[in-house]
Amino acid sequence: MQPNSPLRHTKHIFRVGLLLFAAIVALILGRSFFVPDTFGQYGPYRGANVGEQASHEVRHGGRQSCQPCHTDEFEEQTEGGHGTVTCEVCHAPAYLHARDDEKIADMPIQRSADLCLLCHQQLKARPPGQPQIQPRQHLEENDGEPGPESCFECHEPHSPL
């Protein structure tokens, strides 16, 4: 080949081109190996995770989920003084008790005064409209016996005074 031939660099360019091609192939392979399938589908994150998050188990059924089996308690409770307190607040999340309309375990029945005091212990920070007591004073005034279930001697939790 003549020193001034226009083709004298062909070999070099071919080598560089080959290197570039190899780099591109490596990039494509590497990317497809390291980047999850749905990454970038909706934005710079793994799109499949949205569906994964949405498919977690629902554990609190809400009071409507209790109604079909516990109609009487439901009516008594929603019309009473605890009408805004849903069943699961004092009992437990519905998923521990029933699944697919089948009972799988007993629902815990809590009778501890500690549970009542979560809402009714007198605290300065509570809004004034909230019914609150000083437990000892309240028992003395109403001739109550101090004990772990003392509230239930006078109060019916589903529909208290």
Binding site: L27, A54, V58
Partner: protein, 265 residues
Amino acid sequence: MSEKERCSRESGPGVAKSRRDFLKQSAACAGAVVSFGVVGIILPDDVLGDETVDYDWNKHRWVYLVDTTKCIGCGACVRACRAENDVPEGMYRTWIERYEIPVEGEAHVDSPNGGELGFHAVTSGMEVRKAFFVPKLCNHCEATPCTQVCPVGASYTTRDGAVLVDDKRCIGCGYCIQACPYGSRYLNPTTRTAAKCTWCYHRITKGLKPACVEVCPVGARMFGDRKNPDDPVNEMLATRRVQVLQPELLTKPQCFYLGLDMEVR
């Protein structure tokens, strides 16, 4: 011809590039650009599971509203959140703070166990002028500082406004936990990944309220949809005087507060 002259003749600007070389180089460049472009496109497919197949995230823009004047600090929300989301012990996706502002001196703030087991009467002996509870949770900020620091794209904002963490992608570096000015994130000690309030994304995509809203006995916690004109929360945001936490940070929180005191941070 001297050595110097020869060099300048071969490599200097005076040497004309052949058309073939030029085309070759151009083709190589174009090929590289096209390759990058093709790799960047990922074909869409249906990702939402069967249960949520009717859910269209473009039709919702979720928003949270807390009425601090109603909160009684019972902790039902904190307990419900733990049960609903398997929140590990000692960690909180939502918590309740009690503010007690004395006649003189600085405000006293406490949140024993995040308020999960309720609050006891204060024993510090100070004379309290006013006191109130403030429920807190992730603010699901529109301009969130936490997702932008994630080095692996594990944290993101959904189109309906929830800020989520992909625990399969998270490497547990903790940048997002430090970036959040509200302290809403924690590192799950078992999985070693970041976790936070999801607004119970598995519930809201099925038409339910988040667990904390569901169990709140006094309606202090509310959840609404900005894209639903009949939503009562939307109505309250439009007509009531609402505030966000630390508005000076410009994070555009999507968790709004009614009756927020200036002492609250």
